[in-house]
Amino acid sequence: MSDHITEESNFSETKEKEKEKEKQKEQDEAEDEELRKLLLSDVQNLPSTPPSAVESNFAIYFALDFMKPRHDQYVYRHANGLCVIGLAPSHVAFKDEGGITAIDFNVGKSDRSGVKVTGKRKKNAQHFESNTALCKVSTKNDSYIVRCCVKGSLLEVNQQLIKQPELLNASIGKDTLLL
């Protein structure tokens, strides 16, 4: 007799648990729906080409004919004062046949690629004037000195360019970073 009763109560217990699980699942699904609605709330008028990260976060400057004709460089200046220096697409080096073939950071008194800046206070960062040489880019027949064009302290250089100078020939290619 008692077995029958326990069986029944077990049965109703599992039914209860199932109901609870269903409820929980519904609740979770409802929450997910709400979340999705929120996530997609601003997708009404999306531009066909949004501004790039550089355009949104930096002020873009160009230094044209810097110290020598056709030596065109760009400076991306962030609101926090850091600058990214690079060769503008109109730089004379890109006009040479084959484009840029090598980059050498060992100019002036030290190898710029060997600089090790550490810590929040940026210890060991070298002070540069606007005419200090950053690096030398070489093409098949020529080489050009790239200068700093702003005054500041050098934080890092783009090491990738040493091994893969052809990156500069593509549309992306930053050169160095300054404080």
């Binding site: 929120l38 601003d42 949004p50 790039s52 550490t118």
Partner: protein
């Protein structure tokens, strides 16, 4: 004065501070007695049964009348009443103690007496110093007396959600101008502070998000510390405050599961902060239309290792380092019928910079979504959808 300030309490804890001069006199008397009667048996017996120090005697005599006056019992509790006795004559012993190798590390100007008490009590323990040399001189001036009362801080724990892309997590003011229209800490802190009559608050959160990033899902755990509350907060109080904050018209911030927490709240929040995973949803644009293979490729990457150099946007205040982070999984879904916009869901290790993972930060984060798909990628908006931590979930 206790009533004047509007303190609500049902018990109090008494602290008494007496001038170093008295301690010094007590100590010199004691060492004198020790040297004179040290060998006597009755003296040694007295030491064993225990002698009451001047400070304790004073406390005992004060507690009963105070209990009657305030109509409640004294016990170890958050509400503290502090009675400070000071004397204009600084103690001679203080100078001698500090020379005697006493470590007086905190030399606060204008607080010489309170330091004096500290060094003296530590010197009294150091039996090598012979106090009997300093003879108590009879004093004619009475002590100065001052009192104040305060409460030890209360802690509220919970989770917050941020619906606005113009609200920072903490107060952010540059050159006297506020950035953003409000801050999460102020929205929550000011309400709580006013409701329980505290002096000030401190907001501690488990991690943070940018001002233009929304915090959705279950929310981010936080602890709000409130100092010197006049009222005693209860569970009901916490519930009421939570409802009040969530009823706000502009719906910038929401609070869930607000309740009083003890010291275990800290441990829950800080435990494994660096390992906890976070989940995000980002609206991403790619420079070329995407196909099914691209979606498959992204979904197939599990526990992807990413090397992130300190992003340029924070490089001015953080060390230049390369940090390896893990992207546990990713999932992409199309959006608004476009082939170049999609919603990227991802789950990452704590400390990963999501924006830089999408656009690559000029090559300083590698790999990035752009490098994986072989095109340019930009992030338009970011939302935090889950903080996988155990605390404050109910």
């Amino acid at each position: 004065m206790v009533r004047q300030d509007g303190y609500q309490f049902d018990s109090f804890s008494l602290e008494v501070s007496i001038p170093p001069l008295i301690l010094q006199n007590e100590a010199s008397l004691w060492s004198y007695m020790q040297s004179k009667y040290g060998s006597e048996p009755w003296f040694r017996e007295k030491i064993h049964t225990g002698c009451v120090s001047i400070k304790d005697a004073l406390k005992f005599s004060l507690i009963n009348p105070l209990e009657k006056l305030l109509d409640c019992k004294s016990s170890l509790c958050p509400f503290r009443i502090r009675l400070t006795y000071t004397h204009t004559k600084a103690s001679e012993g203080v100078a001698k103690c500090s020379d005697n190798g006493g470590s007086c590390k905190r030399r606060k100007t204008g607080e010489s007496d309170s330091i004096g008490e500290g060094t003296l009590s530590s010197s009294v323990e150091d039996e090598s110093f012979d106090f009997s040399k300093l003879f108590p001189k009879s004093e004619n001036e009475p002590c100065n007396f001052s009192y104040n009362c305060s409460r030890t801080p209360f802690y509220f724990g919970g989770r917050y959600l941020k619906y606005s892309r113009n609200v920072s997590q903490t107060r952010w003011i540059i050159d006297d101008e506020r950035m953003g229209e409000a801050s999460v800490e102020e929205i929550i802190g000011i309400k709580v502070l006013q409701a329980c009559g505290g002096d000030n608050y401190k907001f501690h959160a488990a991690g943070r998000e940018d001002i233009d990033v929304r915090m959705l899902g279950p929310g981010r755990p936080f602890i709000l510390e409130v100092q010197n509350t006049r009222l005693v907060p209860t569970e009901q109080f916490a519930n009421d405050i939570e409802k009040m904050i969530n009823k706000e018209e502009n719906k910038l911030v929401r609070v869930n599961n607000l309740k009083l927490v003890g010291s275990d709240g800290w441990n829950l929040m800080r435990e494994g902060e660096g390992e906890k995973q976070k989940q995000y949803a980002a609206l991403v644009w790619t420079s070329r239309p995407l196909k099914d293979e691209d979606f498959q490729q992204v979904s197939s990457l599990k526990d992807l290792k990413v090397a992130q150099r300190t992003p340029i946007r924070v490089l001015h205040r953080r060390s230049p380092l390369e940090r390896e982070k893990i992207i546990h999984w990713m999932k992409m879904e199309t959006v608004a019928g476009s082939s170049q916009y999609f919603l990227l869901h991802l789950c990452t290790q704590a400390g990963t910079y999501i924006k830089e993972f999408v656009h690559g930060d000029l090559g300083r984060t590698h790999p990035s979504i752009g490098s994986i798909l072989g095109c340019r990628a930009e992030i338009l908006q970011l939302d935090v959808t889950d903080i996988k931590m155990e605390c404050f979930l109910t």
